[in-house]
């Protein structure tokens, strides 16, 4: 069966520090991969998606970037964190094609001080 791992579960970082969140998927190949951010009490905002190694599409301009160095690895990064980067970050995968369910990791709670 397929599983998705996301770490760390919680992270506290100072303003201006770098960020690297990692997500890996097991049990499937060539998945679509997604990064979302969820502000408290708000809906999910799609940040990036990827349909293949090295292929990244950004949905909103921001202080973050994403990379997909391997088929089942998706990384969210920042060179310098802002206070506004605080939130709950979720990674998800789906099979290729449309109308496929998305499967989420358990998220990273990021607090910027």
């Amino acid at each position: 069966s397929q599983t998705i791992h996301q770490w760390p579960a919680t992270l506290v970082q100072p303003v201006g520090s770098p960020l690297s969140l990692e997500c890996t998927v097991e049990g499937t190949s060539n998945p679509n991969l997604y990064w979302y951010r969820q502000a408290a009490g708000r809906g999910l905002q799609l940040l990036f998606y990827s349909v293949g190694i090295g292929q990244i599409s950004s949905e909103v301009p921001q202080n973050l970037s994403a990379s997909r160095p391997q088929d089942r690895q998706f990384i969210l990064s920042s060179k310098k964190l802002l206070l506004s980067d605080s939130g709950f970050y979720l990674c998800a995968w789906s099979q290729r094609g449309s109308n496929q369910p998305q499967h989420f990791g358990d998220g990273t709670r990021l607090s910027i001080l």
């Binding site: 996301q6 708000r42 809906g43 799609l46 979720l90 998305q102 499967h103 998220g107």
Partner: protein
């Protein structure tokens, strides 16, 4: 722009009753609609997908309807249990587009014993 509306207020119901959650959308015509459950501090979990040519879909105690004329989906949980307490998210979407989903903000359901 595309807009998805779910009741922002929590829905409180008594155990054993039927819970009905509403998802309204405007400014686009989705071919599919997905429903997810999200528990506090966890990632969303896929529940059901309904296509535009399906008026109703069932899975155990869950039932989803999709009315493309009203631009609305209803999500029902029959014989509700306290374990059904969670936030429920809808995601109407078109075909194609790399399976990108736009989620509503969700409705929190609280089932009381």
């Amino acid at each position: 722009s595309q807009k998805i509306e779910q009741n922002s207020e929590a829905l409180n119901i008594q155990e054993g009753k039927t819970a009905t959650l509403t998802c309204n959308y405007t400014n686009y015509s989705p071919a599919y609609l997905q429903w997810y459950r999200q528990d506090p501090g966890r990632g969303p979990v896929f529940l059901l997908l309904i296509r535009e040519n399906e008026k109703e879909k069932r899975k155990e105690r869950l039932k989803v309807t999709f009315d493309t004329t009203l631009k609305q989906s209803l999500f029902h949980i029959t014989a509700s249990q306290p374990a059904d307490s969670a936030t429920y998210l809808c995601a109407p979407h078109r075909s194609g587009g790399y399976n990108k989903l736009i989620f509503g903000a969700g409705t929190r359901l609280a089932v009381h014993p």
